[in-house]
Point group: C2
Chain length 510, copies 2
Amino acid sequence: MTEKKAGFPAAVGSRRNEDYAEWYQQVIKAADLAENSPVKGCMFIKPWGYGIWEKIQQKLDRIIKKTGHRNAYFPLFIPLSFLAKEAEHVEGFAKECAVVTHHRLEKNEKGELVPAGELEQPYVVRPTSEMIIGYAFSKWISSYRDLPLLINQWANVVRWEMRTRLFLRTSEFLWQEGHTAHATEPEAREEALKMLGVYADFAERMLALPVVKGEKSALERFPGAVNTYCIEALMQDKKALQAGTSHFLGQNFSRSCEIKFNDQSGKEAWAWTTSWGVSTRLIGGLIMAHSDDDGLVLPPNIAPAQIVLIPVVHQEENKAQVLGYLRLLKAKLEKVPYLDGHLEVELDERDLSGPEKKWEWIKKGIPLRLEIGPRDLASGLLGLNQRHLPHKETLKMTEEELVQRAPQILQAMQEALFSKAKAFLDQNTVKIGSKEEFYRFFTPKNPHKPEIHGGLAEVFFSLDENIEAKLKADLGVTLRCLPLEKEKTEGVCFFTGKKGAKKALFAKAY
Amino acid sequence: MTEKKAGFPAAVGSRRNEDYAEWYQQVIKAADLAENSPVKGCMFIKPWGYGIWEKIQQKLDRIIKKTGHRNAYFPLFIPLSFLAKEAEHVEGFAKECAVVTHHRLEKNEKGELVPAGELEQPYVVRPTSEMIIGYAFSKWISSYRDLPLLINQWANVVRWEMRTRLFLRTSEFLWQEGHTAHATEPEAREEALKMLGVYADFAERMLALPVVKGEKSALERFPGAVNTYCIEALMQDKKALQAGTSHFLGQNFSRSCEIKFNDQSGKEAWAWTTSWGVSTRLIGGLIMAHSDDDGLVLPPNIAPAQIVLIPVVHQEENKAQVLGYLRLLKAKLEKVPYLDGHLEVELDERDLSGPEKKWEWIKKGIPLRLEIGPRDLASGLLGLNQRHLPHKETLKMTEEELVQRAPQILQAMQEALFSKAKAFLDQNTVKIGSKEEFYRFFTPKNPHKPEIHGGLAEVFFSLDENIEAKLKADLGVTLRCLPLEKEKTEGVCFFTGKKGAKKALFAKAY
């Protein structure tokens, strides 16, 4: 799989600009993040990949709690009759539901194991939990005093996808889903937008992933929602990725789940609800936004570990000395405060050659790498490499300097990754002035071997659903969002000639 | 539901010694931990209950990682054919499997939603993950260099139970399951026993739950295991609770999952595997071991918060002053180091009366309670109540003393709860010398209104399965474990008269 490049094996077999889809698979494989499983569309998330998810959970959970939400847990199964209560909702998910119909296994006459004990009513494995959490809310809420009710759940969900891709679209995925109920419409709207802001901040500060906050068109809305807000990011192949959504559900779900309360005047009213979620898909976005032809590049704020120490020892007699030193160094570094904890350090003691280990860690995207041998110990200068810079650009510093400077170096790397991604987003957000230009923007020059093209096309759009559908059919392009802007700008839609059209972003997307 | 008791509403409607099962339900309800859901045998875990689970996760996860394990995630669904590979294993779980047979919903002629898209091969919702993780291991392991492979998963699992009870036995539950593969038998045995030790320590230090470490008899073994080790705790109704298990699986699963490796001499060999888990059942054990007729009692080390501040204000004009003070006090307390973090403090600002709040927090089992009004501010002395002591036993101290002493007070409470439970376990572990005594020990004096009776019966037992089955049929008593002891003691089995019988503990159990 590996090939020679300037004396080193190249980390990833494919190049981004040659075959982006293949490059993505290779990065995941080379970094040992995840792999396909024998269960249709489901993946094995391996320790390094799961480590990223744990970081996301840890950091996002803290923010979700700080904004007043509490975690709870609800059943994996949803009675079919519950799902059926909200017509749009069930229609949106009916095509991708895993259905449990039996509750035991039995041997048939041939001695084969077959499902037995048919259920009176089938259960659907939750594709999302509005209907079961809505039921719980209907029991828990009776007075305005019970509101707002601000709940979050970390869970697995299942949507039976036909075409899957590791992290980006899998039949089972891990996520958090917030569900809230409020006494008034403005409060619920504010909540939906607040959590959108939380997601945008989180993506930008933690994942170094610049995003556009916006609202979905009716065609792209969550089934049953009044408004769906989203954050959209741009990948290096200029396709957009929906990285998180927040829904204002109006009273649709409170009516179908009967979430009623007595308001301050004693009158019965329907609650106003929201829901919002991000998933393991974020890891896909992270991979595609920052990685390069040598493999994964991890923003320090979300890396499972920030530093790897690699002993480089050619002679057996030096081994004990170098390892002894590195164990002490590891302990020192692990006491250095970093973000809301301390530096996390890997010491690679495996019985492999220095270059083998080095390339493995480059491919894994660990932010800082120290390769240390007897000569470094003698000189008192350690060589530090940063993952986002050329591999030969080594910073030499004393141990003391390293301990002192590591957090700043990591912070600078975090900012550099964000700035680079932000510049890419800005450069590839293009104002488009005519239909011809729009079609040209989204058409590869060489249809036989399509090159990376497109980006986010910014237009004024009169929200004509027929045109939206035609653009999807013609170009594979969807309306990503109507950006939320401080000052509303309106213009003429060049598709329809209508005035007062809103600003919209179109793109090919994952 | 509440009744008057010495001028206060009693926290829990039932008394432990009158109707233990009902008392258990009432404690859960009064503490707002969880409730039954409309999904058969599945529960809603409410925020205070889930908060306990989060603490268990957080603390146990740290230990699991420190002992060299890494987290990963595997599919929820297991192909039926995988499960069928290990005969004993599938037999053990066949009666309680939720089976997914379809992957979408469709409207039938009557307009009703029905399952559609039948799967070629059904999937079982994981009751445990040996077979799917075993498959992954077979791909990941090829050389002795890949061993040991030490993996843990935090996940939901489903076992279709007919008789369920909140936390103790539910169709879906949350757990962690460790799965490891080793090159040698002694190493795998050591791992299984090491993790049993981790569980025992965790139960005793964190949950204040004294346990007996032991081995299960063949009848009670995990389906497919060579040895099943367990920790057993004793509840206040003198029934035992299996609180965690660790299995030495030999080569049974590596053979059925084909987990092979080349050993150092280049020969192909089967790996030796283990698995081990604890679940939300621990919360049931926690509740039953420590709580009283006023509701839940939480050991400080596992409480979602250790301190509640309750403003007691009768006149509106004092409200701002008291609340202002308590907000500052909360901030100060939250800076006090406690265990591996800081004190966690609840400030109850809700618009309820002081006594209402007080009783709610007693029922919730929060370790320390401060009720504070304008007079306390004036005197400079704060009144501290400890959940495990009589409610009127108030410690008066200055703010400075509180900040200084709170961690020690909590630690003393943790120890007091453990000592009390340990004394109870010791008192109720009874050496039994004859069959008649054995039957008497497990028979209530009043069969019409059975009182709490029994305990752990310690006997020498020759491991006769017919007798084991008969004791279960006659008395509802099972062999909880053969205790692991430093020095092996053997004796005569009074059931069979055989010599060289091992020490065994029998009990009624959950």
